[in-house]
C-alpha cells in the first residue's frame, strides 16, 4: 500500500471507465426504444417476469426493435411492476408506467412503440422535465426524497458492472486507494455517518477501533441478515445496486487493513445472493477485487455466506458464531468483534446501508453529507413503509423529516378515508407511536427518546381498525419464536409476555396483567444478554404507554375497541336495515352461520360464526345491515326457527 498519487491506479481505472462509457454511449445514443423493467424481488412478485416475457413475445411477433433493460427496484412498491419506456423517436421523454401487466405490455408495444401514442391514461409521469407530460418530480413521493444510497437503484442493470461504472461507480475506490487509510477514516468520521443497522454507532469510530487493533488478519463483514418482518431495504439494495455495497466494503477493508470480507446474506433472499455473487465475480474480472486491486498493493477477497434465516443472527456475535458453524447464539460483549471476532480475528461488521453510504460520502466529501439530515444524525434514512398507507415502498429521506410528512405527504396518507392510529418503527425491536408523535423528526435520538428506535428501517403504518394489543402480541410472537434460548430473561420472559398478551386478546385477561406486563418488560430489557432480548419488550411497553385505555378495555370490559380481536367481537344484522329475501350474506358464509328469521330477514348463529367478516363485505351497500360489535354480548337476541327438516328426523 503506497498512499499518495498513484498513476498506475488512475490508468487502470480510466481504461475500465472508458469501456463503460463506450457502452453507455452506444446505449443512450441509439434511436432504438429502451424498455426498463424493475426486476427486483418486489417486481417479480408482482409479475415482472410475465411482463418481460410479454414484451419479448410481442416485440418478436410484431417485429419491433427495442432493447429490454432489466433494472433493480426504484422503490415504488405500490406501482409494481414498474416499466419505464424511453422512445426517443416518439418525441416523448422517458415515461414511467405503473402496474404494467402482460396485457398492458402488449398494448404499449402496439400503440406506443408502434403508433407513437403513449396512452396518457396509463402514465404516472415522465422521468424528466418536458412540455408534454407532467414530470415525476412534481409528486411529493419523488421530490421530497433525497437519494444517497439508492440513487442508482432502479436505473442501472444490477447484473452489469459497466452500468454502475458508467454512473460513476468504483471511481471513489480508485480515488481513495491513493489516500492513506487514516485520511479515509477521518473523512468518514467527519461525515458523522452512523451505523444504519439500527443502533447508530458512529461508523468512523468503529473503523478507527478496527484500524488501531494490531493483528495479522482482519475481516470485514457486510451484515445483510435483514430479519425484521416487513423490512426489505437491504435486500432491495443488494438486488438493485450490489456494486455500491461492494465498493463500500472494499473501501472499508482498505481503511481498516483487512484482506478478507464476507457478505452475510440470508438464504431466503435467493435473488440477492445470486446478484451479489455475480457482482463479486465481475468486479474480480475487472481487477476491482482480488489481488493487487487496480494495480495497487491492496488485496481483497469477498465471499458470500448464506445465513439460515434466524433473526438473532443479525446480532453481530451470533452472526459470527453462525459463520463459524455453531448455533447462532450471541455472547457477552465486550470483547467486541472489533477486538475478537470471526475466527478470533478482529472483525468489523457494518450494515448494507452503512457500506453503501460510504462511496457517495467519500466522493462528495464529509461536508456534503453533513449538510443532509440533522446535526447528530447526518445523511439519509431508508424506510420500507408498509401497512395502511397509500404509497407503500422504499423511501429514502433526509434525516429530520417529520413522521407526518413522511406518512401523509410522501406516502400519500391512510387509504379508505380511515384515521391514522399508530406507527410502528424499527420492527419488532421498535415501538408503537401514536399521533402525538407525528411531528417528531426522524433521527436516531428523537426516535429513541420517544421509546421507538431507528432499527433497520421497517415502518408499519396502522389505521383506526388496528388493535394495539394484537399488534404487540404479533411482534412478541415473532421475537419469542426468534429468541435463541440462551439467556433466562429472553427465553422464558418473552414467552410469559406472549402468553399474557394472548389471553388479553382472547378476553381472558386477569387483574394485574398490565402491571405484570410492565414489570416483566422492564426486567427483560434490563436483564437480557443481547440486543434481541433488550429490545423485545419495546412494542409492549410503548403500546402500553400510549394506548393504555385499549389494554384496559381488553382486561376490564373484555372489549376490543378496534374490533379486531376475534374472540372479543361478534357480528349481527340490523333487522331494520336487512332486506327481506336477500341472500347475499347467507350464500357467502363459509360455515353456514347465517339463518333466516321468521320474517325472512337474517340472523347469525353465534355458536357457528367464525367471524371472518365475509357477510360484512357481501351485504349490498344500499342495505349496509351488518354490524360488528365488541364485546360480543352487545349482540341482540334474534330467534332462530328450528329447521323443520332436522326436527323431523
Amino acid at each position: 500500500m503506497n498512499p499518495g498519487k498513484n498513476e498506475k491506479i488512475d490508468q487502470k481505472f480510466s481504461a475500465i471507465l472508458e469501456a463503460a462509457e463506450r457502452r453507455r454511449k452506444a446505449f443512450t445514443e441509439t434511436p432504438v426504444p429502451k424498455i426498463h423493467i424493475g426486476m427486483a424481488t418486489c417486481g417479480i412478485a408482482s409479475g415482472a417476469l410475465e411482463t418481460k416475457k410479454a414484451f419479448e413475445e410481442i416485440l418478436a411477433e410484431r417485429n419491433v426493435e427495442a432493447i429490454i433493460h432489466p433494472v433493480g427496484c426504484i422503490g415504488h412498491c405500490y406501482a409494481e411492476p414498474v416499466v419505464i419506456i424511453d422512445h426517443p423517436d416518439s418525441g416523448f421523454p422517458p415515461i414511467f408506467y405503473p402496474e404494467v401487466t402482460a396485457g398492458k405490455a402488449q398494448m404499449l408495444v402496439k400503440l406506443f412503440l408502434g403508433e407513437g401514442d403513449p396512452r396518457f391514461e396509463h402514465i404516472l409521469g415522465a422521468t424528466m422535465e418536458n412540455d408534454l407530460i407532467p414530470s415525476l418530480m412534481e409528486f411529493p413521493r419523488f421530490n421530497q426524497e433525497k437519494r444517497v444510497v439508492m440513487e442508482k437503484c432502479g436505473h442501472i442493470n444490477p447484473e452489469d458492472i459497466y452500468d454502475y461504472i458508467a454512473e460513476g461507480g468504483y471511481s471513489t475506490l480508485a480515488k481513495v486507494l491513493q489516500l492513506s487509510p487514516d485520511e479515509i477514516i477521518n473523512e468518514v468520521e467527519h461525515s458523522g455517518l452512523r451505523g444504519r443497522g439500527g443502533a447508530g454507532f458512529p461508523t468512523g469510530r468503529k473503523w478507527k477501533l478496527a484500524r488501531n487493533t494490531v493483528a495479522q488478519e482482519k475481516i470485514v463483514i457486510c451484515n445483510a441478515d435483514e430479519g425484521d418482518p416487513g423490512a426489505y431495504m437491504d435486500r432491495t439494495i443488494l438486488e438493485s445496486n450490489p456494486h455500491q455495497v461492494i465498493e463500500g466494503m472494499a473501501i472499508c477493508a482498505y481503511a481498516v487493513g483487512a484482506h478478507k470480507a464476507v457478505v452475510y446474506v440470508r438464504s431466503e433472499y435467493p435473488l440477492a445472493v445470486n446478484i451479489v455473487t455475480k457482482a463479486i465475480g465481475q468486479a474480480e474480472e475487472l481487477g476491482l477485487l482480488g489481488k493487487g486491486i487496480l494495480g495497487s498493493g491492496f488485496d481483497l477477497e469477498i465471499d458470500v455466506f448464506q445465513g439460515s434465516g434466524a433473526f438473532v443472527c443479525g446480532e453481530e456475535t451470533a452472526l459470527i458464531r453462525s459463520i463459524e458453524g455453531y448455533r447462532g447464539m450471541p455472547r457477552h460483549r465486550p470483547p467486541y468483534p472489533v477486538q475478537k471476532g470471526l475466527w478470533n480475528t478482529p472483525t468489523i461488521i457494518n450494515n448494507v446501508k452503512t457500506l453503501a453510504s460510504v462511496p457517495p460520502i467519500l466522493d462528495n466529501g464529509a461536508a456534503w453529507y453533513r449538510d443532509i439530515g440533522t446535526e447528530n444524525s447526518p445523511g439519509t434514512a431508508i424506510f420500507s413503509i408498509v401497512g395502511n398507507v397509500v404509497h407503500a415502498g422504499l423511501v429514502e429521506i433526509p434525516m429530520g423529516v417529520s413522521l407526518r410528512s413522511l406518512i401523509f405527504d410522501i406516502c400519500g396518507g391512510i387509504p379508505n378515508k380511515k384515521k391514522f392510529k399508530a406507527v410502528q418503527i424499527g420492527g419488532p425491536s421498535g415501538g408503537c407511536l401514536n399521533e402525538d408523535f407525528l411531528d417528531t423528526p426522524i433521527d436516531f435520538d428523537s426516535l429513541t427518546e420517544a421509546g421507538a428506535m431507528m432499527g433497520s428501517g421497517g415502518m408499519v403504518v396502522m389505521d383506526e381498525d388496528t388493535c394495539m394489543v394484537e399488534v404487540a402480541r404479533y411482534f412478541l410472537d415473532f421475537t419469542q419464536k426468534e429468541s435463541c434460548g440462551k439467556c433466562t430473561f429472553c427465553r422464558i420472559g418473552t414467552y410469559h409476555l406472549l402468553k399474557i398478551l394472548q389471553r388479553l386478546t382472547k378476553g381472558e385477561g386477569l387483574d394485574g396483567d398490565l402491571e405484570l406486563l410492565e414489570t416483566l418488560s422492564r426486567d427483560i430489557k434490563a436483564g437480557s444478554l443481547c440486543g434481541l432480548g433488550k429490545t423485545a419488550p419495546n412494542p409492549v411497553l410503548t403500546s402500553l404507554k400510549y394506548f393504555r385505555e385499549e389494554y384496559e378495555a381488553h382486561v376490564k370490559e373484555k372489549r376490543c375497541p378496534a374490533l379486531m380481536c376475534r374472540a372479543l367481537t361478534a357480528f349481527y344484522f340490523d333487522l331494520d336495515l336487512c332486506a327481506r329475501g336477500c341472500d347475499a350474506c347467507a350464500t357467502c358464509c363459509p360455515v353456514d352461520a347465517v339463518f333466516t328469521t321468521s320474517n325472512r330477514k337474517k340472523g347469525v348463529d353465534q355458536e357457528l360464526c367464525v367471524k371472518c367478516g365475509e357477510c360484512l363485505v357481501a351485504c349490498p351497500p344500499e342495505y349496509d345491515a351488518v354490524r360488528k360489535v365488541s364485546p360480543p354480548n352487545l349482540v341482540p337476541f334474534i330467534e332462530k326457527i328450528p329447521d323443520k327438516k332436522e326436527e323431523g328426523r
Binding site: 434466524a310 447464539m329 426468534e482 435463541c484 434460548g485 440462551k486 439467556c487 433466562t488 437480557s528
Partner: protein, 216 residues
Amino acid sequence: MPKLRVDGKEIETKQGTTLLQGCLDNDIYIPNLCFLESMEDPSASCRMCFVEIEGEKQPITSCTVNVKDDMVVKTDTPAVRQLQRTALRLLLSVHHVDCKHCPANKKCELQRIAKFLKVGLKPKGLERYLQETEIDRNHPFINHYPNRCVLCGKCVHICRRQHGQSVWTFAQRGFDTVISAYGEAGASSLTCGKCDACVKICPVGALTFKDVQEDG
C-alpha cells in the same frame, strides 16, 4: 493483587479473575448458575450474578467483568435484587417443583438461591409452563429431566473439557431449548458410564444415572 470494595468491605482478589469469582473467594455470595471458573468465555446466560459497579449506569453481570483495583461494587441494591428475583421466578415458572422426590433436594442451587433471595419456590403471578417430556431417556446411561434443567450449560462444558467433545449439546431453539444427547450414537464413542462429571456438576438434579430410582 487488586483491592476492591464490595458492599463496603475491602477485599483482595487474584489478578485477572472475574468479579464473581473474586467475591465468591472472599465469601461474598452472589447467586449464579451458569458460571464455572474454568470457562474461557463465561456464557453469562443465567442472568443471576448481577451487581452494581460504581460508574456503570445499570446492574451488570459480575461473571463478565474482571476485577480492577479500587472497584466499588454493591451486591445488594434494589435494582440488583429485582433482576435476580425476576430471573429466579422465570426459571421456577418452567421448573417442576417437586423437591421431595428430587435427588438434588437440599443441595439444589435453586433452593439455595430462592432462600437467599427470599423467593418462594412456588412464585405467585406467573403461570407455570412445563414441557411434555418429563424424562428424556435417549442417553444410554443417564436420564435427563428437562423440567428440572435450568439450561446453565455446565454439563456441556464439563463434558467437552473431559473428553474433547461433548455428548450433551443444546438442541431446539428459544423457549423449547433443551439439553440433548441425541441418542446413543454420540455417547457410545465416549467413556460415559465411567465418567460422572456431568451428573455431578448439574446444579439442580436434571441429570441422573439410570440405576438411580427414576422418579427420585
